[in-house]
Point group: C2
Chain length 691, copies 2
């Protein structure tokens, strides 16, 4: 049953009497089987304070898990708080205590007015009467299409994020004690209630709830079956724009691998033709038939130049695509900087000069100082530790190999593996420590907006992770200057990471699904709603998009930084990504809890990372071409002076960088029609200001 | 006398009866000696249609010069047109036919409402009641400080620009014939009236009128006397923000030359100490005492690295200063793109998707296409012609020198000068042709906004002029690779350009003023107002700021591109610029007609040019250091391999560029308080939009 039927009013908390509704399950959208009532909503739910929000259907959005030892009076206090209007310091949401009033969950839903007000606060755009997207305004809500039907007007992800946003945003208006907690636990003025409750162990977790009907539909068009295109709008609708952007980028990036893949294949084919008789022209370094080796060399050159220009063009086109998506998903004008600061933000209470609200303030120069004097040196230190680890590893390996040569026993044979093992352990430990350090550093920087916090945290972890991945390759390419080794290493890394990916992302998920998830799912068909919710909350938490993005970035790094060394990179990546799309989709739908996903306007710091990499690739490729045996030979044979070859390489590098800069400037960041829409919005707001 | 006294109402057009007012002359601001009248304004002026604009004082703002053969009926028609309200297709300004109704001038003034409406249209910011600058709104005018007194509320430059803006913006609402002109001259719907009249020879010129009182005051604090600081706000008030920005930049740039000048002096001093016994270590290329030559070399190195970082820091700080000025002068939010297109713009009539107005439209892709397929190749062609000219010059010179050696006669002696003379003629002709071509190309590109038009035109001329100036130096530095010659050439260029500047900008202006302007001025004391106006219009037109900016840019080029070659550059430039400030100020005040100056928010394309130069300087300096005899010697002696020296230089270059990019990103483009003001404006407009 999907309606909030059952006896109303009375505190019916018995099993089965409280069944939340799934809109798609059996009843048509918006139609109710139960008797219509104007007084309140579902049974067990807190009352709505605003008459226009009374509705007979309540969609449970978020499950709040409480600590096992939470006393019933604390739970009752929390439910009251969640339901209280915002002017009284509450969240103006709807709360349900679950079947057992003293159980450890609270189900939270949101009334229409709270949702719409939050939409205005977040600065989301919604379709206006005239067909354009426009920043939503609560007072003007009747002019927005479908604004009276929030389940159509807002995406599921938006509704769930708003619940989290409201709960996170609760702050103490005057000092108070929480019933059922020790007297020493006092909420002080301006404290973030939710953070305090989490740190006190009252609230353990917050889980957005799946909508099985929608999820099934989404899965059908997304990963089961043979669809070339992903249902990106549906992904945005269900998982939110940050997930939507990831999958859009994955999609875009995968298709844009086609040209370099085709080029790589043809170069490999033609150079393969050329060296049919000989083995590994580049690898051996001994060339007899010069024409053929020249062919290989110029093939690599073409590949390198192509991929350098390609990477800029792709990133510029992505920016255009990204702004189109952002317009479509209504996140073009997010106004986070005008909203309340994020819960973790602290500072002296004062009047915000921009909004005029009383809130904590923290001077920007102090943040800059903290970044410059603390964050940058600490991050540098950790990068130094990576280099130190690598140096020790090479030193240890050389020594032990020497030892093995000298003694040659079983012991030394085993000892040979010790440096690698130690290095792996060291690297992993370092990464774990670093992640915590990065978190604390970013906390310490005290960013006002959640997105700034996320971006700074991501940037820190990103730099370290990337460095960690590439340190060895850089060492081979720039210190050892050993192109054949680099080539071997790159090929093995690509193939190994491919295999590892396939195993971790296809095989393991499949096994998990078959033997762990499916038995669970089988039981739930006739179970009460609440048990389904509980089941969901037992799934592992979604690990976030960092791992997914860094995988793409590392790929992109292999491809662009060392493209001239191994032309088949793009082909391997293309194959990998086509399966990656499916497995990532499957993972997020089935194997993890649904994540909260804030509305975002773009990929944030990842965009920048890809662009930086694309510029770094020019230097790396020019360097690698310089190291190519053909040029080295020319130089040694004295046919051309080393200096003039080097000068030429520098010239080529500068020209390529110039071309990339020009391409980046010339391709506008948003399509013409989006630019016009943005200007139209600006014009409207100027006109409005004048009146 | 400064009031609009004399008999009112009657068409008193006799000599002396119409005297426009100079507010500062004798009467205190805003006070009138004549009888107060509510019906109209000064005698002879057209009537004001709007009752709130009736005032007894009319400040003549602009003088329109008509062609000598213009018939009286045409003049009357034009005066009616200027005075007609905007809804009837007029300019809603005030016009006065001058003493002689059939004379060849029209004096134009502006009533309050027209001025204020134009301020709103241009998007100028003015001080609001709460002390912040805010985009002016006509409906909300009472909340702006002093908005009822336009002569305080608006600067003189703004009032005059608005007159020009309104006249330029006149367009034909339905086809009409102009009385007194031939029947073949028909104004068609949507034609720009003013452009048509100019091309028909009816209107010859438009001159903003000086305000002698204010001008005298400005001169006192600007160029006469020993002021260290320029009265920039007064300059902005009198000459407008584009002139204001030029002088602010000149000021800022001059003071920022201090650090490199001090460094250059000390390096020259210490290296002078070191080479007391020897002559010209660098120049001769023969080094005996290596320590000392190393000292010189490392001095040049320090100078080069310093100036490379310095140039970026300076440009970033200037951006901050520029945004502060722009806030102060109310030009931060110009809304040109939302206003009517510029008069020369043509396209198919349609509905502007942004503003919803009916106006000519021209698709952006078509403009891009024209730029890519026409403008870029043509500009490239002309740059090629410069190179061709230089090549011919070198070729010719070499041949003639050979000839002179072989024959050695008086004829060949004279012939020796021929290539230089031909080259100079060629270069000048090319520059003239190019300027016209650039104008037509930019017209053809059909930019919608005047500022875009100006920027594209400036960019074209700028690239060519700069190339023209530097082609020879680049040739010496990069093709001939002759550092001593470069050094000599640079020193002589700097000194010659200094001397030429001083002559053209101090001596000639002084002579002109003494012997040409002063006699004129002497007569005017008791002359009727109109003759003073006529005198003003006989001054040469202000040649624009292009020449001034390019001078600075070329200076900056000498300084940054070749800083390591001649450390005293900054010293010479500093001396030059300190006098330059005075002479430029004197020039614009006394020697030319007052220019119209549109409100601008920054230096436009010049900002970019300086920044590009600052990056190019890294490459050029690294290259020049590579060419230094010390390194060349090391290389030849085999102490270090050429390749490793080269590699090191490339590394240093990359690091420097990276540092510059980081510095540019880290220094915010506007000061914190401006950012907050801007955010506040945004916030207000979002709030306004929601209501």
């Amino acid at each position: 049953m999907s309606t909030a039927d059952g006896d109303e009013g009375e505190g019916a908390r018995g099993r089965g009497s409280e069944r939340a509704r799934w809109p798609e399950d059996k009843t048509p959208e918006g139609k109710v089987l139960g008797k219509s009532s104007a007084t309140t909503t579902g049974p067990g739910w807190t009352k709505v304070s605003c008459p226009c929000c009374v509705s007979e259907q309540i969609e449970p959005l978020v499950l709040v898990k409480l600590g096992a030892k939470v006393r019933p009076e604390t739970k009752r206090w929390l439910i009251r708080l969640i339901g209280a209007p915002q002017k009284d310091g509450g969240a103006a949401l709807l709360a349900h205590p679950g079947e057992d009033a003293s159980g450890d969950i609270i189900v939270v839903a949101a009334p229409r007015c709270t949702l719409l007000r939050a939409v205005e606060e977040l600065g989301l755009c919604k379709p206006y009467r005239d067909g354009d997207m426009e920043a939503f305004s609560y007072d003007d809500k009747d002019n927005f299409i479908e604004s009276d039907n929030v389940e159509v007007f807002l995406t599921l992800a938006e509704r769930q994020y708003i619940v989290k946003y409201e709960l996170d945003g609760l702050w103490v208006q005057r000092d108070l004690k929480v019933p059922g907690l020790s007297d020493s636990f006092v909420l002080k003025h301006r404290d973030s209630i939710w953070q305090k409750l989490v740190s006190a162990g009252v609230v353990v977790d917050m889980v957005p709830l799946h909508n099985p009907g929608k999820l099934r539909e989404l899965g059908k068009t997304w990963y089961s079956g043979n669809h070339l295109a992903q249902p990106l709008d549906a992904v945005n609708e269900y998982f939110g724009s940050s997930v939507g952007f990831y999958f859009s980028f994955l999609d875009f990036y995968t298709w844009s691998l086609l040209p370099p893949a085709v080029l790589g294949l043809s170069i490999t084919y033609f150079s393969g033709e050329a060296q049919k008789e000989k083995e590994s022209v580049w690898g051996s370094g001994v060339t007899t038939a010069e024409d053929e080796s020249d062919l290989v060399f110029s093939g690599h050159m073409v590949q390198a130049v192509f991929s350098m220009i390609w990477s800029t063009v792709i990133m510029e086109l992505w920016k255009r695509r990204s702004s189109t998506l952002s317009y479509r998903w209504g996140t073009l004008n997010l106004t986070e900087r005008f909203a309340e600061p994020r819960p973790g933000f602290h500072g002296e209470i004062g009047v915000n000069p921009v909004t005029g609200r009383v809130e904590p303030l923290f001077p920007g120069w102090q943040r800059d100082l903290r970044m410059a004097l603390v964050s940058v040196p600490v991050v540098g230190l950790f990068l130094g530790l990576v280099v130190l680890g690598m140096t020790c590893f090479y030193w240890g390996e050389a020594h032990i190999q020497q030892l093995h040569k000298d003694w040659d026993s079983l012991l030394t044979q085993i000892l040979l593996y010790v440096p690698s093992v130690l290095h792996i352990i060291y690297t992993n430990m370092l990464a774990t420590v670093y992640r915590n350090v990065a978190q604390s550093l970013t906390e310490y920087e005290n960013h006002r907006e959640q997105s700034a916090f996320e971006n700074h945290l991501t940037a820190k972890v990103l730099v370290f992770t990337f460095f960690n991945y590439f340190a060895v390759l850089f060492h081979i390419a720039f210190i050892k200057e050993d192109v054949p080794l680099l080539r071997k290493r790159l090929a093995s890394l690509l193939i190994i990471s491919q295999v590892v990916n396939q195993v971790t992302e296809v095989v393991i998920p499949y096994l998990v699904d078959r033997f762990i998830s499916t038995p669970n799912r089988a039981e739930t068909e006739d179970d009460p709603q609440e048990d389904k919710f509980r089941n969901e909350s037992t799934l592992p938490a979604f690990p976030g998009l960092f791992a997914e993005y860094i995988e793409l970035l590392v790929q992109f790094g292999y491809l662009s930084l060392f493209s001239c060394v191994y032309p088949l990179t793009a082909v391997l990546l293309l194959i990998n990504n086509i399966t990656e799309i499916r497995t990532d989709a499957y993972k997020i739908c089935k194997l993890f809890r649904k994540p909260f996903s804030p509305p975002v306007a773009n990929m944030g710091v990842w965009q920048l990372a890809f662009q930086v990499l694309s510029f770094a690739s020019v230097m790396s490729n020019c360097w690698l071409l310089l190291l190519s045996p053909q040029l080295q030979e020319l130089c040694q044979q004295g046919k051309m002076s080393c200096t003039s070859i080097l000068l030429m390489a520098v010239l080529v590098e500068h020209v390529l960088i110039l071309v990339k800069v020009i391409v980046a400037v010339l391709i506008p960041d948003e399509p013409d029609w989006i630019r016009k829409k943005i200007e139209r919005m600006e014009y409207k707001s100027i006109q409005a200001l004048k009146q």
